[in-house]
Symmetry: C2
């Protein structure tokens, strides 16, 4: 434990995955770090819960994919074992009340057999898909910059593109569902999202690389503590940061309880939450405008568990998508080593608002009733039912991640990652690859630590 | 001065116009109020500055109009004299490098003679204008609610409507200029604004009612102090509010310096800034999502004064609009009793970002050079030059006002004004008439005071 007069090399604010990685990496380099967290727990949106059955569930993110090499390296380092997301069996589509079982999938890209919708509907979706992919692939790598093409794409909503590029109800829903299901899109309603942002997300975090391919034995929620073990006495919980002062030589961080001094700071929070802190001197105008314009997605996660994965006896995969009243995506999240059946599902966007207004019992009934449509009556009798209300969580304000409304990337995007004096930024929203996923958080945490280390080395050699 | 243990009837947070009116009105009803302000001054965006010449200029809002009856009543009460905004003479339009002088005007609606653009260009703008007005007038009174029509309008950007409804460069610019010039639109670039928001603004705060018809002798910046004089010992400056706790009987407001208790609180701040406060219990999810999605406009105001209104000798009105490099709107703001010439102008949206990146002297040169295009070489030699960088002001974060991106009204608008327990909301952004103008601020301040008074009466009669 450092004394009150310690001058830290770096203070990291926000003990989500990015902040944990940044602080750990700097400490491994021999730097004196402090990690400050507003909540009474670490992990942010990487957060697990122990059920009475001793089964872990992930209240936040849970999946990883084969090209997410930074999170995979982290898992390997801590010997966290992975298993393939259960997908054997037929998938279910429910569209406009019709239920189809089919041997394929189409979240973010089409795979395998087509569902049983009409040939015209499927072709409409696929034709539009090819145009969307082509537009997306034409973007250069990295964050979208201001140029004429991008300004045009950033002027429209994703909804407008959908309306202009599809002519069947199924085609329209196929893309609207994407907006409400995929990490980099908030999730949000498609008319809230910039077309440029949707295209950029598809380019930098492509579903075709299977970001939901694997799950973790013991859940992702175990990771934060493993990282924190290395930082034991250098973490302060339940200390919201109120103000960050900086001058040409140091940074002063004032929390609800204490004040700390450091050479540098890394703010590892989503942009909106970084903007809630008071800065002295104030943030540059473009950054201030930016942090007013990058909302968190509107999504609750619900984890429902059953004695066993009952759907498998019906040759179903436990994966379902459709335009039911409440649930558009259900994913089998059962750990084969436990024998328990777990479905992860989400209530998103305008569905979330209507659902959230209901009583506890009505919300549960709504979710279970949709699960029964997808998987059968057995779904009505779960052994556990856990809602995670991310928009109601005051220190997160939404989930999975933040997204860009029209005109934010091209007018204010340059302020997203640019350090301001001695303050650097980290968090999955700042990543230019796998933003909105664990991998993006690790990347930005690693990069911020490297940047601070370079500055510290440059400073000490002067 | 109240003792530390005082339980106030109501604490008002934010000493802008709405907060001042709310606190004053409650005090006039015999209530014990406290008004808390983060900045070291009152007034918010109603803010004046005394020049060396003893001339007042308004750094914030400055105009009032004949149907803005709540602000007019306030001005009359304090005997603040008004005068017609100087408009005699020819207006200037500069479009694509061509300069026109004409006896008309067209901010938000067309009046008088058309400018000298081609017949086809003018007709394009006017045809689109009629469609815009018709759409706008079809909206019901009050805040836009969620229904099928509104959801459709809220799905598009204003830019998309412009692209679909105009076919000439002038027609497109005519409406884009509106987005960057009119109070209720942020201002912002048209692709950042919901079409529904643009239409609603035109309905609830119509330019055809001449909201810029009059100016105030001595400036609007004198008003806050007149209201504050009644509240003298009940105002706390330089006390940012960190946290508001409430239970079923009281509200506790914690600032950087003190803690205060009251029966009720009124938060009189733009939604984004209200959202920066920590609430215990947390805000409902829909309100939390809302306050992440209502950015302040991106606009600097520049006040340039001259020994005399030199443009009048050339039969010019001192009113100019056009697509110059930096300035799209200039307005004669000269008080006839002083003899001094004052031009108010604005740098908005993407122009602001490019302009703000320049050095102090280059910014000044950019503004004066555009003024010279509009009004002649004399503009290059002002007696005073004052920039007000609203996006750089940390407690305001932008100007003139907040606006709604696509999908905010219909998904989250219901949380804009709904009280949360013992906390009520005020501020021009919450008005359903003249939002973004002084009048809207007065309306919501008055309404909040009335609501709290009713609750206090109901409580004491129990």
């Amino acid at each position: 434990m450092s004394s009150p007069s310690t001058i830290f090399d770096c203070i990291v604010i926000g003990a989500g995955l990015a902040g944990l990685v940044a602080a750990r990496n700097l400490q491994r380099l021999g730097r004196c770090v402090l990690l400050i967290e507003a909540q009474d727990r670490i992990g942010g949106r990487m957060h697990g819960q122990y059920l009475p059955s001793k089964q872990w569930i992930d209240r936040g993110g849970q999946w990883v994919g084969p090209t997410q090499d930074r999170i995979l390296a982290l898992l390997d380092e801590y010997n966290v074992r992975r298993f393939p997301s259960p997908s054997e069996g037929l998938k279910v589509l429910v569209f406009d009340g019709q239920r189809y079982e089919f041997d394929g999938f189409f979240q973010g890209f089409p795979e395998g057999e087509a569902p049983g919708v009409s040939e015209a509907e499927w072709r409409d979706a696929m034709d539009a898909w090819q145009r969307f992919e082509a537009l997306s692939q034409a973007l250069p790598a990295g964050h979208p910059h201001r140029n004429d093409t991008n300004q045009q794409l950033d002027s429209d909503t994703f909804a407008r593109w959908i309306a202009d590029n599809t002519h069947t109800a199924f085609g329209r829903w196929y893309f609207s569902y994407m907006a409400r299901a995929i990490g980099y899109l908030g999730p949000a309603e498609p008319h809230q999202i910039s077309l440029l942002h949707a295209l950029w997300g598809q380019k930098s975090a492509p579903q075709s690389e299977h970001p939901e391919a694997e799950l973790l034995h013991g859940g992702a929620g175990q990771i934060p503590q493993k990282i924190a073990d290395e930082l034991k006495n250098q973490i302060r919980l339940s200390e919201p940061v109120l103000r960050i002062r900086q001058d040409s030589t140091k940074v002063e961080v004032e929390t609800t309880k204490n004040a700390y001094t450091a050479q540098f700071a890394i703010v590892a929070m989503p942009p909106y939450h970084a903007g809630r802190i008071t800065y002295d001197p104030p943030m540059p105008p473009l950054r201030s405008q930016l942090t007013q314009r990058v909302p968190m997605g509107c999504c609750a996660k619900i984890m429902v568990s059953y004695d066993r994965p009952f759907w498998r006896a019906k040759k179903l995969a436990g994966i379902a998508i459709g335009n039911c009243q409440w649930l558009e995506l259900c994913a089998d999240s059962s750990d084969p080593e436990t024998g328990v059946g777990v479905i992860a599902t989400f209530v998103v966007g305008d569905r979330y608002s209507r659902w959230r207004a209901k009583s506890d019992s009505d919300r549960r009934a709504a979710v279970l009733s949709d699960l029964a449509i997808y998987f059968g009556e057995e779904a009505l009798s779960p052994s556990t039912y856990n809602e995670v209300d991310w928009p109601g969580d005051p220190w997160t304000g939404g989930g999975y991640a933040a997204f860009m409304p029209p005109g934010v990337w091209t007018s204010f995007g340059e302020a997203l990652t640019a350090p301001v004096g001695r303050i650097h930024w980290a968090g999955t929203e700042m990543a230019d690859r796998w933003a909105g996923f664990f991998d993006g958080a690790v990347r930005t945490g690693e990069a911020a630590a490297e940047a601070i280390q370079s500055l510290l080395l440059a400073g000490s050699s002067q």
